[in-house]
Symmetry: C2
Subunit: 386 residues, 2 copies
């Protein structure tokens, strides 16, 4: 997230609470069993009596359950505060919005830094490999727990979009619509490669200690390098040029290779702040889940989508080279070939992949109109669950 | 270099020798003085009596003086063996080809791993910051030493292309032609960012020891990560997909995050072989020289080129996203605006930046025809130096 988050500022959802939901056991797609499982989540707006206005947001790699508003006594607006709130794209005066931290994460939900009940210590690498599907199965449990039989929509960008696609093939009857944003049905080797280099940077850090660092210094240097690589891929050549050019920063130079270009200083700042809020093992598990993700299960996405009644809005951004437009179009094509009602929009932007967090204006219009149509269509033509 | 190096195989230059040339002192562009300076170089073909057939090749970041042929008793073809030899693009039956390892490098020329005469130990970070211009000034000394008053051409790809451009503005009267390939007049913030993350990976490795590792374990893990990042940028999304797809490799898995995709295995292999042949401090110095490079010196390239009589051939490759075509076109535009005779060609390729090493066929035709024209023009119309 580089700038523009506060554009079109409107009153937000105010102070919000962190909630949590636990269940005893989850059968993972690998066949392993994990438990107990806790999901941390937040909600915004109110569930209507028909329970027909619930929208699930799925977050990206470094996101969390805190989408909008602030926590008591803090000034920490959520990661999509520009899009979720009264009068915003996901209008909390109309909709009940839910977001949970993913399985495998480190913002309260069960992950490698959680206590392994078998040992009383953090799981570390004893945590099982998880999948995007596993994340979605957990979300389904949460939605059941909240008494919602059918979601109005599932929305998410980047890895959030993968979860949206996973909902679409796993639980199509549970979602009236799906909005995958700036995402892919599967990673290309280049996308895998960027993640792998990040993982290697973490594992090359001697402080990683094969994942057993919870009682000592964590592998901050490696994680910072991983995040720096990430940030290059989140921006575009054009947005970097506009933001930094070849400007040099005025800074103390303890040695010759202290960063001097502004772009270098920015990456350092991003890397160094990230390590304070993210767990290196979660980075490994979650990126691996992304790399292993293939929504079609290695078969045809078209076939996996036959008979699906969910309405789909696919959004891509022009300068996003990490999840380029052609990957969104593959999703659209498979949907259309399977007869799924699908709308595609490419939003003009220079922000690169970050655009899904920054291009508030056009994205808001697209999403709010789409949701309104689905919501109204629901009230008028669908007798489900009343 | 991914594949195709042996395409169109033709007999090569055979066994070649490593030569070296030293001089006492060099005034660097920073104002510092460095000495003594040694350049390791190789030559192929013979200098004609008029000394009019000499071509200098400038190498890229990880290249060296060994362009073609093999060393005695070894099977180590040079990095551009496909382009340099009898009947090849740089035809050694016609031309005398020279290549030297760059200043700051680690393949024999003076660099941070060389002995600092002031201390009797390797320079490490006491080595001064060097520039692309400093590299070129050294090459000019070598060319003088070889008795060549005017080069037929200077050719190079990537960082080699930066050296070509540097020759063009610093010594235009000393070169009849210039062939910058897959290069840029200056790095964008994105290009700087990729280099910086590589440098950070090296410096985050505790074995780096602020550069003082020559008598202990070198920072191999950090350097391998840097090289892995590099390799992603050298290939294209398409060439990675073609080469690896989402294939998994069959390999022992000591832990969950041992690489399993083929693309991961490839990057590891590249990273791990690189550390055996490259010095981490040289990686820092040479990438910094690239990032600081701006052929126009921060002013107008067009103005820097007024009056230049050198003929220029600029080559770019379609899928090269590290040095995209628009950067080559900026060079072409500045040349044309300055009245410099310039030809531009974009070669179709899926290989990404690696194309300058792999697209032998079209590149050979382009370069050999261009050189022939310059060479013949010289014989016919120019009375220089006879």
């Amino acid at each position: 997230m580089t700038k523009g988050r506060t554009r079109h500022h409107q009153p937000g959802v105010g102070t919000v609470e962190i909630k949590s939901f636990s269940f005893d056991s989850l059968l993972l797609e690998s066949g392993e069993r994990l438990g107990p499982v806790t999901l941390v989540y937040e909600t915004y707006g109110s569930l209507n009596q028909e329970k027909s206005n619930a929208i699930l947001i799925s977050h990206a790699l470094s996101g969390d359950a805190h989408v909008a508003g602030v926590h008591e006594g803090r000034n920490n607006p959520g990661w999509w505060d520009s899009m979720v709130g009264p009068g915003k794209a996901l209008d909390t005066t109309k909709y009940f919005v839910v977001c949970s931290n993913v399985l495998g994460g480190c913002k309260g939900s069960t992950g490698p830094s959680s206590i392994n009940p078998a040992t009383g210590k953090p799981y570390a690498l004893d945590f099982p490999l998880i999948t995007i599907g596993d994340m979605v199965h957990c979300q389904k449990r949460l939605i059941d727990h909240l008494g919602i039989e059918k979601l109005l929509s599932v929305v998410g960008g980047s890895m959030g979009g993968m979860q949206v696609l996973s909902w679409l093939v796993r639980y199509p009857s549970k979602i009236r619509s799906a909005i995958p944003v700036a995402t892919a049905a599967r990673h290309t080797p280049q996308q895998i490669a960027f993640n792998e280099v990040g993982r290697q940077a973490i594992m090359a850090d001697p402080d990683w200690h094969a994942g057993n660092y919870y009682d000592r210094t964590p592998p901050d240097r490696g994680l910072a390098v991983a995040r720096m690589i990430g940030h290059i891929t989140y921006m575009s050549d054009a947005s970097m040029t506009e933001k930094f050019g070849r400007q040099k920063q005025v800074a103390a130079k303890p040695h010759k290779f202290t960063p001097d270009f502004e772009v270098e200083g920015y990456l350092h700042y991003r890397g160094n702040t990230f390590v304070r809020r993210f767990d290196a093992n979660s980075y490994l598990y979650v990126t691996k889940a992304m790399d292993n993700f293939d929504v079609s299960g290695g078969n045809s996405l078209q076939k996996a989508l036959y008979g699906v009644k969910t309405k789909v809005l696919v959004v891509a951004f022009e300068s996003d080279w990490l999840y380029p437009e052609h990957q969104s179009k593959e999703i659209v094509k498979a949907c259309k070939l399977a007869g799924v009602e699908t709308t595609f929009c490419r939003v003009h932007s220079n922000y690169g992949h970050d655009a899904f967090l920054l291009e508030v204006n056009e994205q808001s219009h697209l999403i709010s109109h789409f949701l309104k149509k689905v919501f109204n269509g629901y009230e008028v033509t669908d007798n489900y669950a009343v």
